[in-house]
Symmetry: C2
Subunit: 501 residues, 2 copies
């Protein structure tokens, strides 16, 4: 019977924009949105020989160090070359023992490769790992955290390896969401914020509770503002978690120890689960700034806090000095998490089987780097120092150049990889933007792309105080290219201001 | 003020099993469930010297070829060694040019590594890729599909690279879900089925619509059963998509061309979005069986179908002859997807930035393997043939041995990597299971683990017809080990039957 009947000739589609999942449709993600799409188009047009007011598109929209020309750390790639040859298997099948005997590969990279492969099923990176991640990698991460936090203990059972930090954050948010209507879970996030947070909250149909960072105080977290946001939110949802991004993205602030202590006290008092996004912990440049992990501060506050406060901290291999975004390596450490919830977390991760094993191997190496006395140590320190010093220089240059432009004001780039300058948009430009159905900062950034070939992300993609406008630009390009980029931004802003005045 | 107030001493946790996301809690995933957890415990106990009735735990629960001792294909690992050294960067920093000049690495592996790295930002695998995946990889996948499907065109714009096939399936299901109450999206899935489907549907709060595979006809899909399931489901939900797994998991059937044509006609008539999970397409062993892709059949049915039917097909690098699960490489091809929905799909993927680049590189290689005349070709064909022949032999051995056991009956293992035998459980065992609060097949599998050290997954984890019992066991162990494994299963089943008769 089914065989004889014919479908309509112009069959309407099952899945259309009107019949798809509305939460997916409603999610916004500006970091890879229409401006970035237009930048790719412009690149194609340039390649095809079309004339533009610029010779190349500078993609200053994303924190991707390698794409900006940063060289990978040698040690990581040596290790990778070895481990991806599957050392043991290479040995077994005798197909290229050269690699094993190759004296250009240092012993410390080889010994780490041994250790990882021994922890893999069948001694192969091609096997699934445990859903929580490879045991020996989690052990190395725990030891790294202990060194970082001056001896505060870390339990490998509390470490979960993730597909980049995003995956961990999304997974934790998913665990937290429940309830309906006025008891629906609310999640407090900073404004401005990295839009993966808001996109995920929309997808989960959770309530986004905004707290504003204080631009006047270098984008720091303000406890009274947290209190305001929380009290208002309690009228319409059940706020259960507080997300802090330190160092900040896009805002680059590095929180003080005092601020972190105050946040922990606030979260304890208000019964909030703390989520600390600390992926930029190695990227601190600001004068007098230092990274304090939430965990250290929590433990310094004594057992009253350290025995009870639920905290999860996220980290990845994508940022720092290594910038290995493509491997999608990351971890989260959960503190004081309920045991039954931890079992549910493991189950949730297991449906996706495991995070990519090459990324897990890289996590191991990044958090178990060459030590003094090992053959790779000197070169490793040299490369790492060079990258971090260059970033510090670029952070200072960016702040300095942008603040010479009338109509642009930029907080110090204390950490992370971005500046988030505030811009003054002339009245006439606002009117034209409205006529074109664009937000003023989107209009501004689109013009910057079309006229100067520079791709940055409008502040509205991150959220900003009503009536203020910003853009996010990475500081990652090599210093000479960054200088050119900043001059182009300056020139563009002056022309734009002139045109619309 | 916040600083002076103290939290309660024994602060209750914010996140508990009772206050977590109920959809996560309700999701079941037996493939990595309590039996697997107990198997890991038993391994630890054996390592600690505890006496057990067996010397080792055989993990026959999951389709992980490398963990079962299968050697990786040499060519893939040579390529991986090169690409993970970041060829270009290695060259640039001159730290180990040996690898470049190393004659043990064949030219075809080197040239493919060049091509991939040229498509990466900054010529580094450490860069994020486009969210949809690296362009050149998607081109190679499209060309592979065209070769596979005898010239049916494939557009790289329709290829999306994913983190294993699961990620693609979950993403597509997420797009499809909408509506409330009786208009909530229903998704038709086979019973038995791979439980990632049901776990994801629970998480998405979609309605799972079960259709039963026909065990008497070698687990084939039955159109009248599809119709029954659909008609019943229409009373309480809005069924919008039909998932077909071919070759089947855990049921290993290979659908005939006629069956696929009938399924397409059915889906067209009933306005269902077709999801074809074809990750086992290289794993076909059954007498007279051949893999037919849904796409080829769709195009052979003419424009009336091929111009309108919405179809998505999933594939990965984890199965086949390569078995590289740990890399989490995969792709999906979407056919006739609405353009606006495609844009939303890209946005959804972009929130996670991109799938792991090492996995993308492996996808490229698997679907663009050595060709006749290239230096690696002969060895590649030799290795691939050896693995696939061994699998075929193991499929036959499994069926044959299991069918010699009274109380076990096993359909031919036509494809994939599993058998799913039906078992007779004596009345007394059922009673004891009930007393212990376990399902009879869980009770059976737990006993098999405790007494014989064999870890298999109970049929209830996949769904089975009321009153029937099964287990899923991989056929992947090396043939001598598989023979031992099958004899142990036989012996266990006989003892178990005797004990409870």
């Amino acid at each position: 019977a089914a065989g004889s009947s014919k479908p309509q000739v112009a069959r309407a589609k099952v899945l259309t924009i009107d019949t798809m999942n509305p939460t997916v449709k409603n999610a916004k993600y500006a970091v890879r949105g229409p401006i970035v799409a237009r930048a790719a188009e412009l690149e194609r047009e340039l390649n095809e020989g079309m004339k533009k007011p610029f010779d190349e598109v500078i993609k200053a929209n994303i924190g991707d160090a390698h794409a900006m020309g940063q060289q990978p750390i040698t040690f990581f790639r040596q290790f990778n070359a070895i481990i991806h040859a599957d050392f043991y298997n290479a040995l077994a099948i005798c197909s290229y023992p050269e690699l094993l005997n190759d004296s250009t590969f240092p012993e410390d990279a080889k010994s780490r490769a041994y250790r990882i492969l021994q922890s893999c099923g069948g001694n192969s990176m091609g096997s699934y790992s445990a859903s929580q991640g490879i045991d020996s990698v989690r052990q190395d991460v725990a030891r790294y955290i202990e060194r970082r936090d001056g001896g505060v203990p870390s339990d490998p059972d509390n470490i979960f390896l993730t597909t980049g930090a995003c995956d961990g954050i999304m997974t934790m948010l998913k665990l937290l969401v429940c309830g309906e209507g006025p008891t629906r879970t609310g999640i407090m996030i900073p404004i401005p914020h990295y839009p993966m947070y808001s996109a995920t909250l929309v997808e989960l149909a959770a309530v986004q509770v905004n707290y504003y960072l204080n631009e006047e105080k270098c984008w720091s977290v303000d406890i009274s503002e947290l209190k305001r946001a929380l009290d208002e939110a309690r009228h319409y949802c059940n706020p259960r978690a507080l997300c802090i991004v330190n160092p900040g993205n896009p805002t680059s602030q590095v929180e003080t120890r005092q601020c972190i202590e105050d946040v922990i006290r606030f979260a304890a008092k208000e019964r909030l689960f703390l989520m600390a996004d600390e992926v930029y912990q190695d990227n601190v440049y600001g004068h007098g700034c230092r990274f304090h992990s939430f965990k250290t501060v929590l433990f310094e506050m004594g057992p009253e806090y350290s025995n009870t406060m639920e905290l999860v901290s996220f980290h990845s291999t994508s940022k720092g000095y290594m910038g290995e975004c493509g491997f999608r390596g990351g971890y989260m450490e959960v503190i004081n998490m309920d045991d039954e919830v931890k079992a549910e977390l493991t189950k949730l991760l297991s449906v996706r089987l495991c995070s990519p094993v090459p990324g897990q191997a890289l996590v191991d190496l990044v958090f178990n780097p060459p030590q003094p006395g090992e053959p790779s140590y000197d070169n490793f320190i040299k490369e790492r120092t060079a990258i971090l010093s260059a970033l510090e220089e670029k952070a200072k240059l960016t702040e300095q150049v942008l603040n010479t432009v009338p109509g642009i004001s930029c907080n110090p780039v204390q950490g992370a990889m971005f500046c988030f300058p505030r811009i003054t948009i002339p009245e006439k430009a606002m009117i034209e933007a409205t006529e074109q159905g664009q937000q003023p900062d989107v209009f501004y950034c689109m013009k910057m792309l079309e006229e100067a070939g520079i791709c940055v992300i409008p502040g509205s993609g991150f959220g900003q105080k009503e009536g203020t406008y910003h853009f996010r630009m990475t500081i990652l390009p090599p210093i000479d290219k960054l200088q050119i980029l900043l001059n182009k931004v300056k020139e563009f802003h002056q022309k734009f201001t002139q045109k619309y005045s």
